[in-house]
């Protein structure tokens, strides 16, 4: 038990995310290049970058979907490569694609995830109901997801990622394809999540507005490396007076807004946008 207590202590003291020379190569292409990053608990963190900058690969590694080819990372104190199950118990993940099952109801989608996350039987109903209520979906819980709007699907997916009360939530482009109203609703819920539960939120985005409004700390990625890191205000100040996040982005990435991204990625992003829109 002494060992157990030590680990509990380590978990409490650990950063939400800590990477050390984390790298991923696909053949000759280095998608993520010796990434050193520390995200404290409770922070709202934004990862920016153009297509192919390495954002998605980074998220895939941190969520244990993809093993790194070099370096290492800890999520809430657990190693992503050697303690993957421990990491998975403590994180929630909302993929960029539409990942709620359209052939099931909202509640059924939640119950499935509750079971896969080993939420005790007696708590599953109440947790699903709470998650629906938190995301403002109580009234449509019994309806098929096929009938949901894009914003509702996104909120349901976020609800799915919260059932086991994760310490860190990863969101890959959470508002892509949403109209401004739906987008605001998602932003509000993410903020509320952080404020009420102290959840660490890490999101990737293309949307400079989103990064500016939501995130306390921003990392701009370019060619698999972090080229700028800090609060939006500081980053803007560093670029110039009256600079916007767009200016920051262009400044640090050399204006290369769209140079990477495979056909498959682009097709996926457009499909997601179409299905949510």
């Amino acid at each position: 038990m002494v060992e157990g207590e030590a680990r509990l202590h380590r978990e409490e003291a650990a950063a939400a995310v800590e990477t050390s020379a984390l790298s991923r190569a696909f053949g000759d292409l280095v998608a993520v290049d010796r990434l050193d990053l520390r995200i404290e608990k409770g922070v709202f963190f934004g990862l920016l970058g153009s297509n192919g900058a390495g954002k998605s690969t980074t998220i895939k590694m941190l969520t244990t979907l993809l093993p790194p080819t070099a370096g290492s990372a800890l999520v809430v104190g657990f190693d992503i490569a050697h303690q993957a199950r421990q990491v998975r118990r403590r994180i929630g993940y909302v993929p960029q694609m539409v990942s709620a099952d359209a052939g099931l109801t909202g509640t059924e989608n939640l119950m499935l995830l509750a079971k896969l996350y080993d939420v005790p039987r007696g708590e599953r109903d109440s947790r699903a109901a709470e998650a629906l209520a938190f995301m403002g979906l109580t009234e449509v819980g019994k309806k098929l997801v096929r009938t949901y709007s894009g914003g509702m699907i996104r909120r349901l997916e976020i609800a799915q990622a919260l059932l086991h009360r994760p310490a860190v939530v990863f969101l890959d482009e959470p508002t892509v394809g949403l109209d401004p109203v739906a987008k605001r609703a998602v932003w509000d819920k993410l903020r509320e999540l952080r404020e009420k539960f102290g959840t660490t939120v890490l999101l990737t985005t293309h949307d400079m507005d989103e990064a500016d409004v939501l995130c306390e700390t921003i990392a701009v990625m370019h060619h698999g490396r972090i080229v700028a890191l800090g609060p939006p205000v500081e980053l803007k100040a560093a670029v110039g007076e009256d600079a916007t996040m767009d200016d920051v982005f262009v400044h640090f990435t050399g204006g290369a807004v769209d140079e990477g991204g495979s056909y498959r990625e682009v097709a996926r992003a457009r499909r997601t946008a179409r299905r949510l829109g």
Binding site: G4, L66, R89, I91, Y93, L104, L113, K115, L116
Partner: protein, 281 residues
């Protein structure tokens, strides 16, 4: 952080994170498996169209192929009429054809993001795979019901009674699980829909014809007999033939039939559980 589920006994590293014993881990494994299979049952109940469209093919085999070939009396089927002989074969074929394309669901789910979401949960990989296998079993059982109805209409001499019927259901579950898991492995290797569909077509016919489904193994040339003896479909048909129709005889015995299905399934699940995560990467 408050409310984060922390392991009861954090001394255990890795696999048994949330549980104190192997019993809890096993319960968790079974729960994950059933959770995946339950989705399939719910979807099937909501929209059973596919069960009916898939029943056209086996009906044609019995109605056309079976009736015509039965008249020739060219195939030595012992005490059974040809239709009686081939009915278990057609059920096995239906199981095979339904299960062999099951893997494409994984490619769909990968493209949709459902797979990634499942893989980020702490669910056992083996349970995710076995859950898919059980889902295929659910479909297989739905097919079985339809084929029994058609067979009754054609006055095929079916066996009824608790043991034979339970035996057929177990055989269909296992057979569906074997071929759907095989399909899953193929999907994990092929990774795209187009390539998968191509290979799926290539695989089904040899599996079907190099088996005892519509003619006895004894009729085959020597080399084909060898192939048929290592084909898991042969053992499924063998068990079904004796369980499903009156006077049907199992050539290899239920023990071997069962052992082959369970053995092959175990091996395939282990391989599939290893390959499964690579689809999402």
């Amino acid at each position: 952080m408050k409310g984060v589920p922390i392991a009861k006994s954090p001394g255990h590293a890795g696999r048994l994170a949330v549980s104190d014993s192997g019993v809890d881990a096993a319960a968790s494994f079974i729960r994950h498996t059933l959770a995946i299979a339950e989705i399939e049952v719910r979807k099937l109940m909501r929209d059973p169209t596919e069960v009916f469209t898939r029943s056209v093919q086996p009906t044609l085999w019995l109605l056309v192929f079976g009736q015509v070939l039965g008249r020739t009396r060219a195939i030595p089927t012992g005490a059974l009429t040809y239709l009686d002989f081939m009915t278990p074969g057609v059920l096995a074929q239906s199981v095979l054809f339904t299960a062999i394309f099951f893997g494409i669901a994984v490619i769909w789910e990968r493209d949709l993001g459902i797979l990634q979401k499942m893989l980020v949960t702490p669910a056992y990989r083996g349970a995710l795979v076995l859950g898919k296998a059980a889902s295929a079993g659910v479909r297989g059982i739905a097919q079985t019901v339809i084929i029994y109805v058609v067979a009754l209409a054609l006055r095929i001499h079916l066996r009824f009674g608790v043991l034979p019927v339970v035996g057929v259901l177990v055989a269909v579950l296992l057979g569906s699980a074997v071929f759907s898991t095989f399909s899953l492995i193929v999907a994990c290797i092929m990774k795209t829909r187009e390539r998968f569909m191509g290979i799926g077509q290539v695989l089904t016919m040899p599996l079907f014809f190099a088996s005892n489904a519509i003619y006895p193994i004894d009729m085959m040339p020597g080399w084909l007999r060898v192939v048929a003896r290592v084909n898991p479909l042969t053992y499924l048909v063998d068990a079904l033939r004796s369980l499903m129709v009156q006077g049907g005889v199992s050539a290899f015995g239920y023990g071997l039939d069962l052992a082959v299905q369970v053995g092959v399934l175990s091996l395939l699940v282990v391989v599939a559980a290893r390959l499964y995560p690579s689809v999402a990467a």
